[in-house]
């Protein structure tokens, strides 16, 4: 049994790709007999320790998010509480998710100083030629030079990660995301409105999700195919542009804007459609198209990033990220969608992706790194210097500060005095009736 600590700024009650990944991975690892805790920052109305399904213990730590649910990088501020949690829970491995989660990065560095094994999973693609990417890549390079192993969700993501952080590609495993296919099941009877070809679009209304492309596609397709009906879910800064377009070209009869769709209603929205349209400009994996394919929809997607690796050619119509090509592919998809083998597709997707497989492959990574010896302090200093002479010196100072503070904390609060926690799921498994029915049923809402 391995005691694992998953860390990320992004977790429930936020519900996105990264959040679902952490949650599902945690549950499946618990099923495999490991102990899993999650550390995140507090959310409104949610602070302290919570227990979720199957005994997944979540620490909502009192770190205040600064910008877009990401905690400010304080470096030393999080150390005392984090140290106590790791020692109390007797953690073996610290696993951080998402490059933009500074809480995860900061705690990875502390975990390394404390002698734990560290793993990092990257969920996004970053370019090399804009200001935001420079800074994220620079910080990531430092954090990942200390990590024992990295995981990326696609092969393109692995190439991107190895170049951004100058990592040995042998230290990066490709373990894709998955989808709970028992939750995303097809139901053609729910297709509404009737006698129309319903095209579903569910995404955040931001630039990266290709809303500007969608605006052009909407006008062209609605004009060329009067039988088409767009069902658009999601919210964001670009939603107003869609609303303006619908107003200007009088597309109210052929479009429906749902606004923000709660996570448990996504399946119902998908089941209303024949075709799922994804216009993202960049995606490392794109869970959305897998969910749509699992619900039996014919998928039309831009072939950017790692999307091409996700589903076979017979399930997705790939288009270049131009309005004309996307419209051509939608035109091809319309006759296909009328006689689509929805249940067959669902069964195929079920065999392709499952969270149990993800947990199994992640477990292999954990066992692999547990066999490695810890890095020496000299190696860590050399890794700091590999980031550059001036920046490396600064990082060395941070590292020394970290070690000094750890020594102080060891004196003030020795390991022996920290009470170790009971392993909930072991106790739970012996006396299930006493705790009620907390078995992992995927049909249940989170």
């Amino acid at each position: 049994m391995v005691n694992i600590c998953l860390i990320c700024d992004f977790f429930y009650p936020c519900l996105g790709g990264v959040e679902m990944h952490i949650f599902q991975l945690g549950l499946c690892l618990i099923e495999r007999g490991h102990k899993v805790i999650v550390i995140t920052h507090k959310y409104q109305g949610r602070s302290g320790v919570r227990y979720m399904t199957n005994g997944l213990k979540v620490y909502y730590c009192p770190f205040i998010p600064a910008i877009q649910t990401v905690v400010l990088f304080t470096y030393i501020g999080t150390l005392p509480l984090f140290r106590q949690i790791l020692l109390r829970e007797e953690i073996h491995i610290v696993h951080s998710h998402a490059a933009t989660s500074y809480l995860g990065g900061e705690l990875l560095l502390h975990a390394k100083s404390m002698g734990f094994k560290t793993v990092f999973t990257d969920h996004s693609l970053f370019a090399f030629n804009d200001a935001a990417s420079f800074h994220v890549n620079k910080i990531l390079k430092y954090i990942l030079c200390e990590t024992d192993h990295s995981i990326s969700v696609s092969h393109v993501s692995k190439e991107n990660l190895s170049m951004r952080a100058s990592l040995d590609p042998r230290e990066i495993s490709v373990i894709p995301n998955a989808v709970d296919c028992n939750k995303f099941t097809p139901n053609p009877q729910k297709r509404y409105p009737l006698n129309k070809i319903n095209i579903v679009v569910i995404c955040r209304m931001t630039y990266r999700k290709g809303v500007d492309l969608l605006v052009d596609v909407l006008q062209i397709i609605c004009k060329q195919h009067p039988e088409v009906y767009f069902i658009i879910g999601g919210d964001g800064p670009k939603k107003r542009i869609l609303e303006d377009t619908i107003q200007r070209y009088h597309l109210q009869n052929q479009t429906e804007l749902l606004g923000s769709v709660p996570s448990h209603q996504v399946k119902d929205v998908l089941n209303r459609g024949h075709i799922f349209l994804n216009t993202s400009l960049t995606e490392a994996f794109c869970i959305a198209i897998v969910e749509a394919a699992s619900c039996g929809l014919c998928v039309v997607s831009t072939n950017v990033g790692g999307i091409k690796e996700v589903l076979p050619q017979n399930m997705v119509l790939y288009a270049n990220p131009t309005p004309s090509d996307i419209c051509d592919k939608i035109t091809l998809a319309i006759p296909l969608s009328k006689n689509f083998q929805v249940y067959q597709q669902h069964e195929l997707v079920k065999q392709m992706y499952s969270w149990e497989q993800v947990a199994e492959r992640t477990e292999k990574v954990y066992y692999q790194i547990l066999q490695k010896s810890n890095q020496t302090l000299l190696k860590r200093f050399k890794d700091c210097f590999s980031n550059g002479q001036i920046y490396g010196l600064y990082l060395m100072i941070l590292l020394i500060l970290d070690l000094v503070f750890l020594v102080i904390l060891d004196i003030l609060q020795p390991n022996q005095r920290i009470q170790k926690s009971v392993i909930f799921n072991q106790v739970y498994k012996k006396q299930k009736e006493k705790f009620g029915d907390h078995s992992f049923k995927s049909e249940q809402n989170i």
Binding site: N129, S154, S166, S173, D212, L281
Partner: protein, 318 residues
């Protein structure tokens, strides 16, 4: 013996003679260090939906092949093209120098204010006529533009006394330092590629208004203040619009105007100071002929990495 075609750490493309990476100095690895050597094993594919008989951290020979690095040896910028692009910067500098020269003449009463008034009005009318010809405006539009200018001039005349007193309390040194900073902001942040629409003032236009109002506060009477602000609006806001229109259709005319104005300004400066004239010509020469050579030399160090992670160019709606 098969070797990697690219360095797995930084994407450097190995040539046949390389034994180590040029950038990170790591040795060129053999493929057999990584590839599982089973004869009948299924070929590795870059897919995620099938379980493959390879480890999750397996590295294939196609690793990093999607990376496109800029070939700096053949795609460098053209020297002549760069020289022609410097004309916009020279024109902006000419406008600033011309404005400062007018200010100097006015401040020291070297040229009669009335004469300056006729001069600037003539320039304004000439620019407007040129703009109307280039844009092929109808008579009604031209008359409407003249009417707008008339309204604008009367408003400016009304506000001239206020503008004279706004910054009067500041010391001369402060004014000149702030003016220098504002001029630098104007030159560095000017939209030389004409990406933005002219319906809104950008930072450089605001900077020009700032330094013109600062300088105007040092002048002696309201007419001079009016002239300076009118001249700044003409030179730094309207003339760039005219410049863009002329450049789009008659690029050679623009270049001729630029050349004549540069030589004329340089010769004018000779009357005041040989040093200033030399400095002006030196700057123009450096920007026009020396800077492009520097850019071409620096281009060999440009390191652009492109791959499937780059965002495609998509028309954005605001």
């Amino acid at each position: 013996m098969d070797y990697f075609k690219y360095c797995p750490w930084d994407g450097y493309r190995f040539s046949d003679n390389d034994v180590q990476c040029f950038i990170c100095r790591r040795p060129k690895y053999q493929l057999t260090s990584y590839i599982q050597e089973e004869q009948e094993q299924k070929k590795w594919e870059k897919i995620l939906y099938e379980k493959q008989p390879y480890d999750d951290n397996y590295i294939d020979e196609t690793f990093l092949q999607s990376v496109q690095k800029q070939d700096n040896s053949t795609n460098g910028p053209d020297y002549k093209q760069l020289i022609s692009k410097t004309s916009d910067l020279i024109f902006a500098i000419n406008c600033v120098v011309f404005y400062l020269l007018s200010y100097f003449l006015m401040l020291h009463d070297i040229i009669n204010t009335q004469l300056q008034l006729y001069f600037w009005l003539t320039i304004a009318i000439t620019c407007l006529i040129m703009y109307s010809v280039v844009k092929k405006m109808k008579t009604q539009e031209i008359l409407s533009n003249f009417k707008s200018i008339g309204i604008y001039i009367s408003i400016l005349l009304l506000f001239a006394p206020v503008m004279q007193t706004v910054n009067q309390t500041y010391a001369d040194n402060t004014i000149y330092v702030l003016t220098s900073v504002a001029i630098l902001i104007y030159i560095f942040l000017k939209d030389y590629d004409y990406e933005k629409d002219f319906t809104e003032l950008d930072v450089s236009s605001w900077a020009s208004l700032v330094f013109s109002s600062l300088l105007a506060s040092r002048l002696h009477n309201e007419l001079q203040v009016f002239l300076m602000i009118f001249a700044s609006n003409l030179l730094f806001i309207f003339v760039p619009i005219l410049q863009r229109s002329i450049k789009q259709k008659y690029n050679s005319v623009f270049r001729l105007i630029n050349l004549i104005s540069t030589i004329g300004l340089g010769l004018s400066l000779l009357f005041f100071s040989y040093f200033l004239a030399l400095l002006f010509f030196g700057c123009v020469f450096f920007i026009t002929f020396v800077s492009p050579l520097q850019i071409i030399w620096l281009y060999q160090y440009k390191n652009t990495i492109r791959g499937p992670w780059d965002l495609p160019n998509v028309k954005q709606y605001d």
